[in-house]
Symmetry: none
Subunit: 219 residues, 4 copies
DNA sequence: AATGAATGAGGCTTCATTCAT
DNA sequence: GATGAATGAAGCCTCATTCAT
């Protein structure tokens, strides 16, 4: 199959992608308000005016970034989770995946958890993001309840708490002066969370053995 | 008892306090970066220049606010907790107190949890704040472990997770379009957290009855 | 010969030049500290922000102005002086050139001699400027000593004194309420300075006749 | 004779003096524009408001300082000069006195020569100051011409040149990174200036021997 | 006389956005 | 599609001056 020549449209798309990459890099490094369009332009190796061809304003870049980054993560979680048969295993898989991804991409985590830095205007966006993850977890918990694996409980609040716990553990790791390996926190976090949902102690202990080891990540 | 005349120093202190109040109000409403000195001046009913008589710059106001607000909360938590004999009860009391205070002062919660909006420069300050609360919790958990009330576990990570869970529950309440009563979330959150630390189920159920009802708060 | 189209870069350079011109005009009229960026913007017919595209701050404009203006003057002096064979004639030519230029550009003189108004930060720059001219003169005096035209003397101090004398004569002319023609001061100043270096009286009298008349200048 | 008790008026006068001293110190150190009223208040150990009791505004302090400082110097010059019989000796004495005083009070020199830093508003004041000294010199030169000690010449321009030469020598000494002793410059400067007015070479050489040595001064 | 808190105009600089080419 | 020069609205902060006590 003949490879098409690179059309202008291709180049435009590439440019757009480049801007998003640069913006991601800049935002995660400096935060929203402290990142100037010039910084993004420099990071993306694009002119300032060029940015405004692809995006109507700074805000839209950030929003798109937030949306697509979350999409990617949710996709990955759902892919990994899909393979798991049992709801608790699913929740575990989700938890593990998020931790794994963040462990490998410290900066991405920053974007997620420090997006508050973006100013009041993004709270909604950020909250939706949190919500999305919380509901993902909630879904698994609901399934677990339905399957009788765990006793009925307020899955909404529990999932929010789970997400918060995860968030804070990652955040505290992110800003630690001498961070250990985030994976080392996993067993404890996992046990704490499963226990919090009423998963039987023996199951918590048992399940763990089946897990493959974490991939190597450099914080 | 004769009331002393109001000295100029008194009035200056009052003015300073007024600025802090105005700043608190403005920061919690608009966020750090989106709050102009003019806004604070207006809220405090002080001239722009007057602010600079009391504070060297915008940042220092925010830092002072963060410090003193946290101090007040920690004080209150320790006072309430001091009355409790048993470590788990202490942890519960701390949790309850924080929730209670936040439920009553939605804005204060905002300052705490959305301080990220202040820009990269405050991350350290904010992290220290989180740390402070996490260690508060950790202390109670350590006591509980020492007292044999709960099985040994990584109290550092657990306390971080607790704080994160609390944080996220409050945050999700803060931004909810139609927030219920934060206190309604308390029983579930309490159960989830206690369970997560391995507190026996019967204790979780028992303890609860003894608690007085939440004071009325208007979110 | 086809005239190239005016490129954006050309226009940018023109704009930059315009800013320098406006700044020159404003600084020499009002002094550094009393000249606001707004004044420069108005004088240059550029927006305030436009200035910051070309210069990082107010100071840099002033420094550039000082540097380039001095460069131009030194260039001119050296060009004129180059034509003179004998060292005393060179010194004379330098003296005359500076006076001439200043007579024609009262404002430039102001920039040079009143730059002190720029604040303590510029003293170094200003001193270097003075030094530069003093050393120019010193060079000619050294040549004259080497050539045996004048008796050996401390040329460093003498050149500083010359420059100071020149400076003060121009300055007193600049601020005179009803200034005469600066050129009218030339014969006396010339005689005084040459005499001060020990140039024989007859030479002082003789040399003068050969000089062309000053060009007309409007103070 | 009974010593009067210190009256309030005395204390007020002392306060006023203290302000002038502090202002002198501050202005000479930082320049006019870069000296805040607060700086003066601090240096004078007086409150900001107190300053405005004694002076209507910042400018007036500076003007008074310029006036009185000049007065003192002129007084001293005239006292020293009065003892001299011959006009050239008078000019010499004036020159020497000024150099001497400046050598001892580097800061005072700064006030005089860098007063340009005070902004355009003081040019007049500063020029009058220069004028005053120039006319002092001119007086002696005129006397010398009248006495036949030197040949007739434009004493106005010559005196301006003298003053400028003196000014620049002091200024270059002031800002030198490793200043030698200003007095060391005296013999050359003296010879240069006397020569410039046509004082016979042998007199220049002779007169010098009679002078007492400079007092010790610490630059 | 003196204090020091308060005022407010004005200055410098930043930066998202626009626009002619 | 892209460039980069230009705009102008804000923002933070300084500081001479005023004023109640």
């Amino acid at each position: 199959m003949a490879r098409r020549q690179q059309t202008p449209a291709d180049r435009a798309a590439a440019s757009r992608e480049s801007i998003l990459d640069g913006a991601f890099e800049a935002f995660t490094r400096t935060g929203y308000r402290d990142t100037a369009i010039d910084d993004i332009a420099a990071a993306a190796d694009v002119s300032k005016g060029g940015i405004y061809f692809h995006f109507p304003n700074k805000e839209s870049i950030f929003r798109e970034l937030m949306r697509t980054t979350a999409d990617k993560l949710v996709d990955k979680v759902e892919r990994v989770v899909g393979a798991e048969p049992d709801p608790i295993a699913k929740a575990e898989a989700a938890l593990r995946t998020v931790l794994e991804v963040f462990a490998g991409h410290r900066t991405m985590a920053r974007l997620f958890f420090e997006a508050g830095g973006a100013g009041r205007g993004f709270q909604t966006e950020l909250n939706d993001l949190h919500d999305r993850f919380a509901r993902l977890i909630q879904g698994y918990l609901d399934e677990a309840v339905a399957a009788g694996t765990i006793a009925p409980l307020d899955t909404r609040i529990t999932s929010v708490a789970w997400f918060g716990a995860l968030d804070e553990v990652v955040a505290s790791w992110l800003q630690a002066r001498h961070p250990g390996r985030l994976e080392d926190a996993y067993p404890t976090l996992r046990a704490v969370l499963l226990r919090s949902a009423g998963v039987p102690e023996q199951r918590i202990a048992a399940e763990w053995r089946d897990w493959p080891s974490f991939p190597e990540v450099a914080p």
